[in-house]
């Protein structure tokens, strides 16, 4: 083996090392709590019928359903994925981005009162740089069909 080939091998080994270790770190990170997590839709969650464990459910806040309590840290609202709806109660910090029709992720479990008891609430606009078009484009401004009185919540829950 010539000196040149030896050198080449050294470089290839170091380069491969960099990328393999990155791949390894990604693998570790993905399986780690707080790393990658699945969201369920409201329909999926209700179909699961799970009551005991911790789930993340993704959906939109039904317009007009937000009930804020005077404590300032308690809120009840209805969320939907466009097919099913469920009532969520939450205690904790309410982010500024939590408004009618916001995209929300709640984490928690079903309580006995057929309410989703959330201990985590994430709300976001599609981009930090822009309010969701749904709030701002004029055509969309009028309330949607999904007003709370239009849907009988009790019937949809398992």
């Amino acid at each position: 083996m010539t000196v040149m080939e030896m050198r080449k091998i050294k470089f290839v080994v170091i380069g491969a090392g960099v990328f393999l270790s990155l791949a390894f770190l990604i693998m570790v990170g993905m399986n780690r709590p707080g790393g990658m997590a699945y969201y369920m839709t409201v329909t999926e969650y209700l179909a699961e019928g799970a009551t005991e464990s911790d789930f993340r459910v993704n959906g939109k806040v039904v317009e007009g359903s937000i009930e804020r309590f005077t404590s300032g840290q308690d809120v009840r609202f209805t969320m939907t994925d466009g097919v099913s709806v469920m009532t969520v109660s939450y205690h904790g910090i309410i982010p500024d981005t939590f408004v009618d029709r916001a995209d929300v992720v709640v984490q928690g479990s079903m309580s006995d009162q057929n309410e989703f008891d959330a201990h985590k609430l994430l709300a976001k606009c599609p981009s930090k740089y822009e309010v969701s078009d749904e709030y701002t484009t004029p055509e969309d401004y009028e309330p949607e069909v999904l007003a709370p009185e239009a849907v009988d919540v009790s019937q949809l829950q398992p």
Binding site: M4, R7, K10, F11, I14, G15, V18, F19, S21, L22, L25, I26, V28, G29, M30, R32, P33, G34, G35, M36, A37, Y38, Y39, T41, R56, N58, E63, G64, I66, T70, S71, G72, Q73, I93, I94, D96, T97, V99, D100, D103, V105, K124, C125, P126, S127, K128, Y129, E130, V131, S132, D133, Y135, T136, T137, P138, Y141, P143, A147, P148
Partner: protein, 747 residues
């Protein structure tokens, strides 16, 4: 008059599209038929398009200033009570407006490119012009057919909806344009890179001639990233500045590959190596810039489905694919022209450290790309939404970022080609000694976390639990960061001192003149070192503030106090106000030193409600109370209370929220170097909710140690980058030499 500006803008964009199409055709024809007159025509068309776009942007701004709510974008992003700067800033709040800003910046840069290359690079210019024109044409196509900024409606619109309150922030006015400048400026090096490949002039010329464009793009992008995180820190109120949000990642990725490019071109300059890699990097950086714009503007982040219905999404996606595949094909076709003139001789050489730095930078960029796009891929393929939390980004990137920081110190000390043993010990002796002392100092400072990690890592490794090992490793990171940082600063100081000593032996100068002359004689090198120091400060700020952030939440009555770390915070008062476009409840607090009770200072934070101006009843009440306040009426406070009640009552009645809340963070910065352990620390307060009646409020408080090192490092980065981008006589000579060489080679 109002209609005139709208028509001018609207048709201006249509003519601009036609101009860019002509510029493309004419420049390609001129290249293939070698008729210079056609190229002149193409350049004039490009300038015409740039002017038309600029005029259109001013017409749109005029619409904002005139509160012309017939325009959809004015209606959606502005209203009569919006302060003047935010009326202008609303331009880039909307989709159409930000695309317009993009194309205006590109147009102006294209203009500068034409003006500065009037008498040079005549062989490369046709293709460079064509590339810029094609990209402008794409954006103008979007603006003309998919997202027209001058779209109007006859609906009755007494007032506008207004800009998202979180965007009404001073920094938000300069952050997006800065970022866009960065994204857009990478077009010019990309255009010249493509031109070099097509014309097979693959020497140094294409990147030497765009050297300052690259530096400028990199500078604006880096500054944009910093401004974005600063805005997040002072506006979003979660106590941090970086959340690995897709929008943030989008701006970081091209900056990383751009940084890699800045380093690797030096190897091509010195040794004629890495030609393929450099072209690839400039292509990758440009595609990531377009991808960044795509991520922020296509709606793909919220959902793959909203992306396909967003109109510009699919068009953008296809354009991106076309750019990337087209560039790659061109590169592959031209591979034979990019043969290396040298070879790597030793692992211990400057070129090798640059190569490793490139591998790590690109590796981090690819990782971030993978993790950012994974949720989108997952949703598209399996229909399931996933999230990638910050822990995974941190886990992967922190070890590599530390390796990168180490290379920052090693690189400048290693000689080109091959380093001898003597050279190594001479160059590394002092920095390593100082770095080791720094390590000892850092371990003492971080003894609690470091000690625990040191005790427990053995057990974690023995248990073969990979997660546990990584959790324990976290305890080492802050001390390692400080120590490596101290080593890097030591290398920079040594380099400066050596340069000065050499100069002062040769010339009789005062230290100050010598320093200035030395920097100006080799701006890239010494400016680059300043950037290295800036990055060290950024790293230290990030390491300390994320490892030692303290948080507390408390409900307080007026007069009560809370204690956190060395602080005592007394809640003094709450006052209500109606200003600009919001109702505010401003909480005043005073800070004391917990140990000796001395006064530190006072600060205020507030909770704001932005009422929905679309509801006439609310709008009228709001304007009335605001007028009371401006008139200094004694019924003002009463009015504000009434406004709060009206909002509550309205929400009951219309069964939806009639306000958008926003929170103003209060920050007390300790910047004095004499502040002892509080040095560079922030005391950060957010009111979570307030009861305007009783004054009772709930606060979330953070103490962020050393966080100001991050912003200070940002300023140092800006300083260093400016030094490198200033006109450089030496680089000018090199460029001229490269041009002469090129001309001779062609002749």
């Amino acid at each position: 008059m109002r209609d005139l500006t709208i028509y001018l803008g609207h048709y201006g964009l249509a003519f601009a599209l036609v101009s860019t199409i002509w510029a493309t055709i004419a420049s390609v024809l001129s290249a293939s038929t070698s008729r210079p007159a056609l190229q002149r025509s193409a350049e004039r068309a490009l300038i015409a398009a740039a002017s038309l776009c600029t005029v259109a942007a001013f017409c749109l701004i005029a619409g904002y200033l005139a509160n012309d709510f017939r325009l959809d974008v004015v209606y959606g992003y502005s209203n009569t009570s919006q302060a003047l700067p935010y009326k202008i800033g609303a331009l880039w709040g909307s989709q159409a407006g930000s695309l317009l800003l993009w194309v205006v910046i590109l147009g102006v840069m294209g203009w500068v490119m034409v003006a500065t290359n009037r008498h040079r690079n005549r062989a490369l210019m046709p293709w460079a012009t064509a590339v810029v024109a094609v990209i402008m044409a794409f954006f103008l196509y979007l603006l003309n057919f998919i997202e027209p900024p001058f779209a109007m409606s006859d609906a009755f619109r007494p007032d506008g909806v207004g800009l998202n309150p979180q965007l009404k922030n001073y920094w938000m006015m300069i952050h997006p344009p800065t970022l866009y400048m960065g994204y857009v400026a990478f077009t010019i090096p990309f255009a010249f890179g493509v031109a070099a490949l097509i014309t097979r002039r693959t020497g140094d010329l294409w990147f030497r001639t765009t050297r300052r464009w690259t530096l400028m793009a990199w500078f604006f992008l880096g500054t944009g990233v910093l401004l974005g995180s600063y805005w997040a820190y002072i506006e979003l109120g979660w106590g941090g500045y970086w959340a690995w949000d897709p929008v943030e990642n989008a701006s970081l990725m091209p900056w990383l590959t751009g940084t890699a490019f800045l380093h690797s071109v030096m190897i091509q300059e010195k040794k004629g190596m890495l030609k393929v890699w450099n072209v690839l990097l400039v292509m990758l950086t440009f595609c990531l810039s377009i991808f960044g714009t795509f991520l922020t503007r296509s709606g793909i982040i919220s959902s793959v489905h909203s992306f396909t219905t967003s109109g510009i999404g699919p068009a953008f996606g296809w354009f991106l694919i076309l750019l990337f595949v087209g560039s790659l094909v061109l590169l592959i076709v031209r591979l034979p022209d990019l043969r290396s003139e040298g070879r790597l001789e030793s692992v211990m050489s400057r070129e090798s450290t640059f190569l490793f730095n490139n591998l790590v930078l690109v590796g981090i960029a690819v990782t971030v790309l993978l993790l950012t796009t994974f949720p989108m891929i997952s949703e598209a393929v399996t229909g399931r939404k996933v999230t990638m939390g910050p822990p995974i980004f941190n886990l992967v990137n922190i070890p590599w970022a530390l390796a990168l920081l180490t290379l920052t110190g090693i690189g400048p000390l290693i000689a080109w080609r091959k380093t001898s043993r003597g050279n190594l010990s001479r160059n590394f002796r002092w920095p390593v000694i100082i770095g080791m002392l720094g390590l000892a100092f850092s371990v003492i400072v971080e003894r609690a976390a470091f000690g625990r990690a040191a005790r427990e890592i053995g057990g974690a490794i023995a248990s073969a639990d990979v997660y546990l090992v990584f959790d324990e490793l976290k305890g080492f990171y802050p001390a390692l960061t400080y120590a490596i940082g101290i080593f890097v600063v030591a290398t920079v100081v040594q380099e400066y001192l050596r340069g000065l000593r050499v100069r002062r032996k040769r010339y009789d100068e005062t230290p100050w003149t010598a320093l200035r002359a030395m920097i100006m004689a080799n701006q890239r090198r010494y400016g680059g070192y300043i950037v290295h120091v800036g990055m060290v400060l950024v790293f230290i700020g990030i390491a300390a503030s994320s490892a030692h952030q303290q948080e507390i939440r408390r409900e307080l009555e007026i007069g009560e106090a809370l204690a956190i770390e060395d602080y005592l915070m007394r809640y003094d008062s709450l006052h209500l106000e109606v200003v600009d476009d919001h109702i505010g409840a401003v909480a005043e607090v005073t800070l004391f030193d917990r140990n000796d009770g001395t006064l530190i200072g006072s600060l205020h934070s507030s909770q704001r409600f932005h009422p929905n101006m679309q509801i006439p009843e609310l709008r009228e009440a709001f304007l009335t109370v605001r007028a009371l306040g401006e008139a200094g009426s004694d019924r003002y406070q009463e009015g504000v209370h009434a406004l709060y009640s009206l909002i509550a009552e309205l929400e009951q009645r219309v069964r939806r929220e009639v306000k958008t809340p926003s929170t103003e963070v209060g920050i007390y910065r300790t910047l004095s170097p004499l502040a002892g352990t509080r040095i560079a620390e922030d005391f950060y307060v957010i009111p979570l909710w307030v009861d305007p009646g009783s004054g009772r409020a709930s606060f979330r408080v953070f103490v962020n140690p050393l966080v100001n090192f991050l912003w200070l490092g940002g300023l140092v980065f800006i300083l260093g980058a400016i030094v490198t981008v200033l006109p450089d006589a030496r680089e000018k000579k090199r460029l001229e030499a490269a041009m002469e060489l090129e001309d001779r080679a062609v002749a």
